[in-house]
C-alpha cells in the first residue's frame, strides 16, 4: 500500500509538471493553430536561467525561478515576433517547421552554455524528504507540485476570466474579425508564446531540482508532453491538466511495479508508458479525452 501511495504521489508531482509543459503547447495551438516544437529548447533554456541565477550568481532560488519565468516569457515573445509573425497567413506547416528549426538552434546554444556536466539547480531541497502519513515524499516533489498548481491556477484564472483568454482564441479563429474588434492580433500571438515560454521555463526548473539535475539531455522530458496533449486533446486546457496527471501517475506506477511484476519488459520501461497510454486512448477517442472534433479549421 505504501509503495502504491508513494508512486501515486510522486506521479502526481510529475503529472503537474507534465501539465505545465502541455499547457504551453495547448495555449500556442489555441492562439495560432501551430504546434510548437520549440518547447523543449525553451524548457532547457528556462532551467538554465534559473540554475545560472541561483548557482552562478548565487541569488535566492525562488528569485531565480521568477527571473527564469520572466526571461522565458521574453524569449517566447521575441521568437514569435522575429520568426513566426512573418509567417502569419502562410500554411501552418511552414510555421511548424520553423519551430523545429528554432528548437535545434536554441538547443545548440544552450548546450554550449551548459557544458557537458550535470548541473545542480541550487534549490534548497537536495535529497530531503517529508513524511506524511507514512509516505515518504521528496521535498522537491512537494515543492514542484505546489508550485505547478499555483502557476496553473493563475493561468486558468487569466485565461478563463479576463479579456486576454478570449482575445487569444479569437485571434486564432478569424484574424480579420478579431482585428475588427480592435484586437491587436499580432500581440495576442506574442502573448501566447510568452505564456508558453514562461511555463516551459518553470517546468524545466522543477524537473531538474531535488535529486535530478540539469543537463544536455533534459530536453527529452519535454517530448513526453506530446503524448499528454494528444491524450488530453490538442486544444483543451482541461485535457492538458488531466492528461498530465494520468500520464504522470501511470509512469510512476509502472516504475514502481513493473520491475517486480514483469521484469522481462526491461529497465526504464516506464519511459514508454506515456506513448502507450496515448496510443490506447487514440484508438478509442481520436481527438483525445477533451479535444474538439474539428480542431483543424479549413
Amino acid at each position: 500500500m505504501t509503495t502504491f501511495l508513494q508512486a501515486v504521489v510522486s506521479g502526481l508531482a510529475l503529472g503537474t509538471i507534465y501539465a505545465l509543459l502541455a499547457l504551453g503547447f495547448v495555449i500556442i495551438y489555441r492562439a495560432t493553430d501551430v504546434v510548437s516544437f520549440a518547447q523543449p529548447a525553451l524548457m532547457v533554456f528556462g532551467a538554465y536561467w534559473a540554475m545560472y541565477f541561483a548557482t552562478v550568481i548565487g541569488w535566492n532560488f525562488w528569485v531565480a525561478v521568477v527571473i527564469a519565468a520572466v526571461l522565458g516569457a521574453v524569449m517566447g515573445a521575441v521568437i514569435e515576433r522575429l520568426f513566426l509573425r512573418p509567417l502569419v497567413g502562410r500554411p501552418v506547416f511552414s510555421a511548424v517547421m520553423v519551430t523545429i528549426g528554432l528548437d535545434i538552434v536554441l538547443r545548440v546554444i544552450v548546450d554550449d552554455l551548459l557544458g557537458i556536466n550535470q548541473r545542480t539547480m541550487g534549490d534548497p531541497f537536495g535529497l530531503q524528504t517529508v513524511n506524511i502519513g507514512g509516505i515518504t515524499i521528496p521535498q522537491s516533489d512537494l515543492a514542484a507540485m505546489l508550485g505547478a498548481i499555483l502557476v496553473i491556477s493563475a493561468l486558468l484564472v487569466f485565461y478563463r476570466t479576463t479579456k486576454y483568454g478570449l482575445a487569444m482564441r479569437a485571434a486564432a479563429f478569424d484574424q480579420e474579425a478579431a482585428m475588427a474588434q480592435g484586437i491587436p492580433v499580432g500581440r495576442m500571438f506574442g502573448l501566447a508564446w510568452a505564456l508558453a515560454g514562461s511555463m516551459a521555463a518553470i517546468a524545466g526548473t522543477f524537473i531538474s531540482m531535488g535529486n535530478s539535475s540539469l543537463s544536455r539531455s533534459t530536453w527529452v522530458f519535454a517530448l513526453r508532453a506530446l503524448p499528454v496533449i494528444v491524450l488530453g486533446g490538442l486544444d483543451s486546457i482541461r485535457g492538458a491538466i488531466v492528461g498530465g496527471l494520468i500520464i504522470g501517475v501511470a509512469e510512476r506506477l509502472v516504475a514502481a511495479y513493473q520491475p517486480g511484476a514483469a521484469p522481462w519488459l526491461g529497465a526504464g520501461f516506464e519511459l514508454v508508458v506515456p506513448y502507450i497510454v496515448m496510443l490506447v486512448v487514440l484508438l478509442v477517442k481520436p481527438y483525445g479525452l477533451y479535444g474538439t472534433a474539428e480542431v483543424q479549421r479549413v
Binding site: T162, K163, L166, F173, E176, A177, M179, A180, Q181, T292
Partner: protein
C-alpha cells in the same frame, strides 16, 4: 417597439462628442488589385448621425469601400479620413479602436464561442487593464469584467436573443447569427457603424426586425451608419443619402427620392427598370 433597456446608459461612449466635420471623408480614392480596379476616384462625405447607404450591382466596389474605411485595404491613391483620423497608414485594429465597428457580408463570427463570448469580444477595447493586472486579477480587473457583462446583457436584451445567449454561435440559424454580429459591433460602442448587407438572405419578418434595430441604433444612440444593401426598399425607407457605385465609380450621391429617379442610375444600375417598381415587388 420602443427600447425598454437603457442602451444609451450601457453604451456611454457612443454619446461622446464627435470631432468637428464629417465622420468619413473619402477624397479621390482609388483601389487597384492586380488586374482589377475595384474603386476608381471615389469621393464622398458622411455627416454625423447620417444613415448613409452604398448601393450598386455585384462587384461595384461596395465591400472594397468598407475595407478602405476599416483599414483592411490601403488606398492605391487618394486619401481617407475617418472620425478625424487619416486612416491610410493605420492598422485595422487601430481604426476599430477609434470607434469604428463593422459587420461582414458573409458573417464572420467566432463560431466556436458562445453568443455572450462573441459580444464580450466586441468589448475588448473598453476593458482598460493590462496583462499584468489580469494575471493578478486585481480588484479593478474584476470590476471591469462585471461592468462589462452588464453591457453585454443590455445588448442581448435589445436584440432579443436571450434564449440563445449561451449557445455556440456556429449552431445558430442564419438570421440569429446576423443579429449576433450586429450585437458584437454594437458592443464596441461605435461612433461609426459599417453594415455590409445586413438583411441579405433574410425573410420579410427578419428584415423588418433588422430595420428597426438599425433605426433604433441611429435614433437612440446617434451612431453614424454606413450601410451596403441590395434591398432597395430598405435603402429607400431608411437611408438619408444614397451613394450609387458602378464599376468602382460614383454615378450618384443624393437623397433617396432623387437617386431613385436619376436616369444614370436607372440606366446603369437597373438596366432600365424603375426603382419604384422594384420596391413594389419586394
Amino acid at each position: 417597439m420602443a427600447i425598454t433597456h437603457p442602451l444609451t446608459a450601457a453604451l456611454p461612449s457612443t454619446q461622446e462628442a464627435l470631432p468637428d466635420g464629417p465622420v468619413v471623408v473619402a477624397d479621390d480614392v482609388t483601389l487597384a488589385f492586380a488586374g482589377v480596379v475595384a474603386v476608381k476616384g471615389v469621393s464622398y462625405e458622411v455627416a454625423p448621425r447620417e444613415l448613409f447607404a452604398i448601393v450598386g450591382p455585384n462587384g461595384a466596389g461596395k465591400t472594397s469601400n468598407f475595407n478602405l474605411v476599416s483599414g483592411v485595404y490601403q488606398p492605391t491613391s487618394g486619401s481617407m479620413h475617418v472620425l478625424g483620423h487619416d486612416v491610410t497608414t493605420m492598422k485595422p485594429h487601430e481604426i476599430a479602436r477609434t470607434g469604428v465597428a463593422r459587420t461582414f457580408q458573409n458573417i464572420e463570427l467566432f463560431e466556436n464561442l458562445t453568443v455572450v463570448d462573441n459580444l464580450m469580444l466586441g468589448r475588448q477595447q473598453h476593458l482598460h487593464y493590462g496583462a499584468g493586472a489580469a494575471m493578478l486579477r486585481t480588484r479593478r480587473v474584476q470590476q471591469a469584467e462585471v461592468a462589462n457583462r452588464e453591457v453585454v446583457e443590455a445588448i442581448v436584451d435589445f436584440l432579443d436573443i436571450q434564449s440563445h445567449r449561451d449557445a455556440l454561435v456556429g449552431m445558430l440559424p442564419y438570421g440569429v447569427q446576423k443579429r449576433v454580429e450586429l450585437g458584437r459591433a454594437l458592443a464596441m460602442e461605435p461612433k461609426l457603424l459599417l453594415l455590409d448587407e445586413p438583411v441579405a438572405g433574410m425573410n420579410l419578418e427578419e428584415t423588418e426586425d433588422m430595420a428597426r434595430f438599425i433605426l433604433d441604433i441611429r435614433d437612440e444612440l446617434g451612431v453614424t451608419i454606413i450601410m451596403v444593401e441590395h434591398d432597395m426598399g430598405l435603402v429607400m425607407d431608411l437611408a438619408d443619402r444614397v451613394l450609387v457605385l458602378d464599376f468602382g465609380e460614383v454615378i450618384a450621391n443624393d437623397v433617396p427620392s432623387v437617386v431613385q429617379r436619376d436616369p444614370a442610375v436607372i440606366r446603369a444600375y437597373l438596366g432600365g427598370t424603375d426603382m419604384a417598381e422594384l420596391e413594389g415587388t419586394r
